[in-house]
């Protein structure tokens, strides 16, 4: 048994020798000045040109190029030697192929294509860039049977993948009665293994045309093919030394090789993959190359559109209901390892809808398990919150609530049209996969209707998961995370406004939490939420960072220079127009007054919410005044620089009631004050500043004893 090094080097040497002989023979016959070229390309010998930057035009130059090729053929037992030997083999293959075209010959006949023209690459390039052609399969050799070959080719065809064929699989496909050709996206290149170079030539010319790669810049070339050309190789056994060395060339360009060969092969993770069962080639290849097939259709018997989002299903029209308030029910997203998820598996455990009594209340749980290289468990609630909208968009299905308090109704009409439990899975699968494409590589859905099982899962899996999530949220502090996020969703209205979203200070609209911003950033990297680092501290107490200042300046187009995270007096964060609340300094009590949007009355500041809003909004810094979300009121970071929440002296009663529990908890934790909100005035007590001071004095409000805010 030989090592992989020995085999590759041996194969490379063999090909190199063959090429040299062939060139010598051609020179002997035609002379060194005989032109060499492929038809319909401006790139001479495209692979050699792309790698070296040199245009070869004659047999003499071709011979000289062999010396350059030789320099690639390192013989040390290192991975690079293997990979570059593979490239050397590929270049030799191109030389052998170009010799076939010598003297105007037309070496390829139907159905084989051989060299592909530049025009085809320009045409193919667009759908490759857009993902309309999600991948390029290069199938080399003969499958175990012609049926295997045809099945594999068809599986790729069905996914829109471009298939190129080299060697025995061409005749197998023909024998199986398949139509081949560029039009049906199955391109037989040639029967010799060297004809594989014609697809490599496509990839490299794509890099030159679409990637603006400079010919000769091998690094950029390889980076381009690796990142942008979603090709992969399926090599059937036997994989001899020559095929193996060509495979090394493919791997060098970033194209994984999947083979059923099991002799003399050492798998390289992600690059050289052994898969004994040819039927699994498709799945293994797509996963290895990270190719995602777009879902264009949801497989359900009903219409799916946002127009049905507001549809209400009344009791009399209801076939079956799942009611989380009466029966165990829940919906859950779980992150799993790639190996634990089988993409598009939809499983039902328990009775289907047709086994349920009409009009009855039943149990249901649907667990959506996702896996992906960029998936993070923090995204789970973001996905889960979308389920409401997904299920409501199904005609005849109504969904309310979340987590284990959901209610789902299925209408009689929907049932009559054939809507069953698995279709819920189809919808969740298709939407999760397509909307969160950036992070979800695989997704499976399990629907459980068996009452005992749902109850068990609810208590053993779902509730602990929800609790863990809540704990994570509660334990997330500004100090515990490495970065913050910007949010500029409101800039259409407030041109210079930038929200800096931190775990303890959500966007002032109240709608964007740090986790939301993080998810938005991952899902839409050039979108409205960008990462803000917090490495260069200016003053931790007020929350001033050089990084934050730079980000704010950049995202406000220079309108803002400095922002603090925790002060309302010194460079406070700006406010757009969507804030839920505004707090403003109340000089007589030495504290702040908070008014929320719903509150229409007067405040002790002598200004109503709309008046405050007109002074504070528009992305302008207004020291002493700041817009914020309701949630922020109970935060330990709320105007921390000025002493924190003990500065709060007044807020509307409704708002006070809403935040009381959390605010009191914070006050207790920070200052040991019980029932802090009892000390905070509201409109039922007074809106007059003097009476406010009197009230605060009576209650012994801590703000009165703090340092004056107006120095």
């Amino acid at each position: 048994m030989s090592t992989i090094f020995e085999r590759v080097f041996r194969g490379n040497d063999a090909v190199y020798g063959l090429t040299q002989n062939a060139i010598d023979a051609a020179i002997a016959q035609y002379g060194a000045d005989q032109p060499v070229s492929f038809p319909n390309t401006a790139y001479c010998l495209p692979c050699y040109y792309a790698v070296s930057g040199v245009k070869v035009k004659t047999l003499g130059e071709l011979k000289a190029a062999m010396d350059v090729v030789k320099t690639l053929m390192g013989r040390t037992e290192e991975l690079n030697s293997v990979l570059f030997s593979g490239v050397a083999t590929a270049l030799c293959a191109e030389f052998i192929e170009v010799l076939k075209y010598l003297n105007g010959a037309n070496p390829y006949e139907e159905p084989c294509y051989g060299h592909l023209a530049d025009a085809i690459i320009r045409e193919l390039g667009v759908p490759l860039v857009t993902g309309d052609i999600p991948g390029v399969a290069v199938i080399v050799g003969s499958a175990p049977t012609k049926e295997d070959a045809a099945a594999l080719i068809k599986s790729y065809q069905a996914q829109g993948i471009l298939v190129t064929l080299v060697g025995g699989c061409i005749d197998q496909a023909l024998e199986a009665g398949m139509t081949l050709g560029y039009g049906v996206r199955v391109v037989p290149l040639g029967r010799d293994v060297t004809s594989v170079i014609h697809v490599v030539s496509v990839a490299l010319r794509a890099a030159l045309i679409f990637g603006n790669v400079t010919p000769g810049d091998a690094g950029a070339l390889i980076a381009y093919t690796k990142e942008r050309v979603p090709a992969f190789v399926n090599a059937f056994k036997p994989v001899d030394d020559v095929v193996l060395t060509a495979g090394a060339g493919a791997i060098c360009l970033g194209f994984p090789v999947i083979s059923n060969e099991d002799e003399d092969i050492v798998p390289i993770p992600g690059a050289l993959i052994g898969e004994p069962d040819v039927a699994n080639f498709n799945k293994v290849s797509l996963e290895a190359r990270n190719i995602k097939i777009k879902i264009t259709k949801i497989d359900i018997p009903l219409a799916f559109a946002s127009a049905f989002e507001g549809e209400i299903i009344r009791k009399k029209d209801m076939q079956v209901e799942f009611d989380g308030s009466r029966k165990d029910c829940f919906e859950l997203v779980k992150t799993k390892e790639m190996s634990e998820v089988e993409d598009h598996k939809i499983e039902l455990i328990g009775p289907d809808f047709d086994e349920m009594e009409e009009g009855s209340k039943q149990n249901i749980a649907y667990i959506v398990e996702v896996a992906g290289k960029n998936m993070q468990s923090d995204f789970e609630p973001v996905f889960e919150r979308k389920f409401h909208s997904y299920l409501n968009c199904i005609e005849g299905v109504m969904h309310t609530g979340q987590r284990d308090m959901i209610r789902v109704r299925v209408s009689k009409n929907a049932f009559a049209e054939g809507f069953r439990a698995k279709h819920i899975g189809e919808v969740l699968y298709a939407k999760t996969k397509s909307e969160f494409e950036a992070v979800v590589d695989k997704c499976q859905v399990t629907i459980v209707t068996d009452p005992e099982m749902v109850a068990k899962l609810r208590h053993e899996v779902a509730i602990p998961a929800f609790d863990a999530r809540d704990d994570r949220l509660n334990n997330l502090t500004d100090e515990s995370v490495p970065v913050y996020y910007s949010c500029i969703m409101c800039q259409a209205f407030s041109p210079s406004h930038v929200c800096v979203v931190t775990p303890e200070r959500l966007g002032l609209c109240g709608a964007v939490s740090w986790l939301d911003a993080k998810a938005t950033n991952e899902l839409d990297p050039s979108g409205p939420c960008q990462v803000i680092t917090k490495e260069r501290v200016i003053d931790e107490e007020v929350g001033a960072y050089e990084d934050v200042d730079e980000a704010v300046k950049k995202f406000s187009q220079g309108a803002l220079e400095h922002v603090t995270l925790y002060s309302i007096m010194k460079d406070p964060m700006t406010s757009c127009g969507c804030f839920e609340c505004i707090c403003g300094i109340e000089p007589f009590s030495n504290g702040v007054v908070i008014a929320n949007r719903e509150y229409a009355g007067q405040t002790p500041l002598g200004m109503t919410f709309p008046e405050l809003a007109s002074m504070t909004g528009g992305g302008v810094q207004t020291p002493g005044f700041m817009g914020h979300g309701k949630h922020f009121i109970a935060s330990k970071k709320f105007m921390k620089a000025e002493g924190g929440i003990e500065r709060i002296v007044w807020m509307p009663k409704d708002l006070k009631d809403t935040v009381a529990e959390r605010l009191n908890a914070t006050a207790k934790e920070l200052y040991g004050i019980e029932n802090f909100t009892d000390m905070v005035a509201d409109e039922t007590i007074t809106t007059d500043p003097e009476e406010l001071v009197a009230f605060l004095t009576e209650k012994g409000h801590p703000a009165l004893g703090l340092e004056p805010m107006l120095a």
Partner: protein, 313 residues
Amino acid sequence: MPFNAKSMKFNANINTVEIGTGDKAIKIGGENTFPFYTFDAPTVNAPKVGIEISDMGLANEPDCIKAVYAGCESVVDMAKKAVTFEGVDFLALKLEGGDPNGENKPTEELVELAKAVAEAVDAPLVIEGCKNVEKDAELLSKCAEALQGKNVLLMSSKEENYKSIGASAGLAYNQKVGAESSVDINLAKQLNVLLSQLGVNSQAVVMNVGSAAAGYGFEYVISTMDRIKAAALQQGDNTLQMPIITPVAGDAWGVKEASASEADVPEWGCVESRAIDMEVATAAAVLASASDAVILKHPVSVATISKMIKELA
């Protein structure tokens, strides 16, 4: 006591983008001041004015436009005539007939037309799509291929279809790409970033940041353009330094002020005059808000705006 003028010439420039070939090629952009601020620095390339015709010929056009093109038997005839009007710097061919919700003309037919128009005139050519993102992806990509070597600007590459149009026009066939967003600086920026991530050279991109007719939410248009220019020049933000082209005709001619007949509103007077005034008022405003090119419909509008640019630049 003389006035102590403080210049506001910027170190940053708007990119210069060339459209068309030969003597008639035009350069748009290039400026390092706010629009027409010749007292800060001399004009680099004066804004350009295009005239718009449609693949639908005169079918949907008002009477006054029918009169303008009287005697033209085909769209190609119209194109030939359009480029002869005073002040026309380029021709804009709008392929509105491609809209699947409208005429739904096949792509091949429209591409043939575009080719025929490109052959018939030597003025630089701008191709506008049909506003349907899926159809435009195909239509404009095919136009990019068919018009190789003409250095045309293909408008209407939007967030939904920029990959197709960007890849074909910007990468495969070396044309210019029009990045269309809807009246929001951040959306405009995002699209430019996406196009450059795709590999499209930012020097080959012209923005259409969205427009409206004067009086119809036009404040958003002004503010978006003002802010983009400020970011590009003052902040030197190179993801916004693409020149701006604004198709004015579609919005201006669509509002009732420009289309209501004299019979319906006799007190408003001549409809042709109203349409021209709506068109020139809108065009003048987008130019004053830093558009580098405008697309108009009526030859009188073109002549008026062209004259205004000559006076100001």
